[in-house]
């Protein structure tokens, strides 16, 4: 499950956001030639040694004072640049007067000043930003080895599910929507989604779907069929195909999660309720995706808050509670408002801007109690 994935070799311009699988060193020095750092003339420093305002040195344009613009190569034999603003042009137009000395290397960008060939630029595991792409090209690197993006299969299962787009929905049928939500998150976690069509409550069909998909992807998510209901075949199918490590997690929502291994690859059975499916993906699929990419799991953006209203929690269950955070005045912790059961599932999912964590050993909390909240992406 944590073995190294095959690599992609990509042109630098296609590698934005991808993660380096190997360290990168500069392929050439930058600059790779001695270059003028200013507009002016290239000179030999020893020819200007005695220059002073009262005894300027005259240099013949061309052989003794070679005009250069910023970035131009310094011709062989020259070793300093005098800025255009510090020159006086002789009336003949064929020579320049210098009123002060200079020193070797002055206003010259030396070879390798920015980067020396062979110098380490990025370690393995570095995620490529726009500035990194520019730097790679500059040092002569045109292709990079990056981790392959993990492929995540998603099997929606349940005879109550209908593919989106059916305007007439009979009672008892619901639109399959968890795949769009979960696979949208998967994209943000660096994975590539592969959605399987809906599989009805048919044990053979589900086994066939898992068995086929598992060979094409790195991780399979099954939604749902993970509770104890009579038509929930997921756990039976996973037992037939592989090993079920966990069936049921002491958390709310999301209790009926299944964690399994099939042919050496992880399979997660997600609960059907959207909030529970989201949480199980966040807690169990997200860390796997970062591990596949050899990346540390990003730490959540934690904030301490004060609970707006008292709440009870099931002893022995970790409780992840969606809350709305209300900023406080004067540097106090923000207030966390849990959604009432009247808010509805959709409003709760859309309007929450934090996930409060209530540890298993806590059964009730009074209003004003301090709680840890992980900020959610609100995009608002």
């Amino acid at each position: 499950m944590n073995e190294l994935q095959p690599l992609d070799l990509l042109p630098v311009s296609d590698a934005l956001g991808r993660i380096l699988a190997a360290p990168v060193v500069a392929q050439r020095s930058v600059p790779h030639f001695a270059a003028a750092a200013v507009d002016g003339v290239a000179v030999r420093a020893d020819q200007v040694e005695g220059a002073a305002p009262e005894s300027p040195v005259r240099l013949v344009l061309g052989p003794e004072a070679y005009p250069v613009n910023t970035g131009h190569p310094i011709p062989p034999g020259f070793n300093a640049v005098v800025m255009r603003e510090e020159l006086a042009w002789a009336p003949d137009g064929l020579s320049v007067l210098l009123h002060q000395p200079t020193r070797p290397g002055k206003h010259i960008r030396a070879v390798g000043e920015d980067a020396a060939a062979g110098q380490p630029l990025f370690p393995a595991g570095h995620r490529l930003r726009p500035v990194d792409l520019g730097a790679l090209l500059t040092v002569g690197v045109t292709e990079v080895q990056v981790w392959r993006q993990p492929l995540v299969g998603f099997i929606p299962t349940g005879s109550e599910l209908v593919e989106p787009g059916n305007a007439d929905l009979p009672p008892g049928q619901i639109t399959e929507s968890n795949s769009a939500m979960v696979l949208g998150e998967v994209v943000g976690w660096g994975g590539q989604p592969r959605r399987h069509p809906i599989v009805l409550d048919d044990r053979t069909a589900l086994r066939e779907a898992v068995s086929t998909l598992i060979d094409q992807v790195d991780l399979v998510l099954i939604s749902a069929g993970s509770s104890q209901g009579s038509e929930d075949y997921t756990v039976h199918v996973l037992r037939e195909l592989g090993e079920v490590l966990v069936h049921g997690v002491a958390m709310r929502p999301g209790k009926p999660v299944i964690l399994a291994i099939v042919r050496g690859k992880p399979v997660i059975g997600l609960p059907g309720y959207p909030g529970a499916a989201w949480l199980a993906s966040y807690l169990f699929a997200r860390p796997l995706l970062y591990q596949f990419q050899q990346q540390p799991v990003p730490a959540p953006d934690r904030v301490m808050a004060r609970l707006a209203a008292p709440l009870t929690s099931s002893l022995g269950f970790a409780h992840y509670l969606r809350v709305r955070l209300e900023p406080s005045t004067l540097g106090e912790d923000p207030t966390a408002h849990p959604f009432s059961s009247k808010s509805g599932l959709i409003r709760t999912l859309l309007e929450a801007d934090g996930l409060a964590y209530i540890p298993p050993e806590v059964a009730e909390l009074p209003a004003g109690a301090p709680i840890e909240v992980h900020r959610l992406d609100t995009h608002r």
Copy 2:
């Protein structure tokens, strides 16, 4: 420049991260049928009115107590659900005993409890998150109108530039790398990049490139040819094709920026140095891209810091200084370390994690002076 862009009509599953061009309302109620909220039996509440532990009510399975699982529709005529755990099964297996009354609506998810058909779900301008995609499908929305992503053309110009991939680089030639850096940022700002091949220092060729590209995109970036050098044709070409609004901005780096309008579309002439090109894109292209998408420009992540070493700044110029932020102990502001001129351009670009702003009226700052720093994306 700020007129509305044409829209894209997209399937919801393709709309992750896109910005709604119009408000979205629920197309159907959720649930669209009265549904069991628990596993148990559907009953008529008035039939169980007198139920008590000492006088249970017996209901015939089927006509009087209809078995339902969570999510199943409530059959017509029934108006409450009794949880499986609260039932006693009669020995005949054909009826159930209820030991307490219930009330109409108990354990039933009413039609529209989550969302009512016609109810506003998202305003125009909302950027679609994974949870939003799930919600849209759930309320029967399968396509959304989103703002078209602005197209950004990039013309690298300069006879010193060479396309990436040429291993042998003669003195005076450099690899074109600014397009990868700037267009990488453009992607993050919501734009779609269109890179033009390198245009040599040839006034006719540059005019032709701008003239062609401007009709295909929403914004053109030209890099570089924006200083006063003898071969910098950009400003002349832009004067011929349109109107140059600004040539030179009182800032460092990035002074030789050009802002122009050609056929009603914005054109930005970027400086050639990577740090200056990055800054000019950040300050001038980024806000345009957000405006094209009818979005507020995200506020920078500002932090106050203490300057690690004294510095001088040019009076009358806004100075944007790349710094490394060193966290402080014990709640003090972090320390901002400017990069020395010995750090090299590449190291400075790659290792900076903040951009310090020195206002134009400030000529020097002592070590320890408070300065405002905008955090940069470090991805580390």
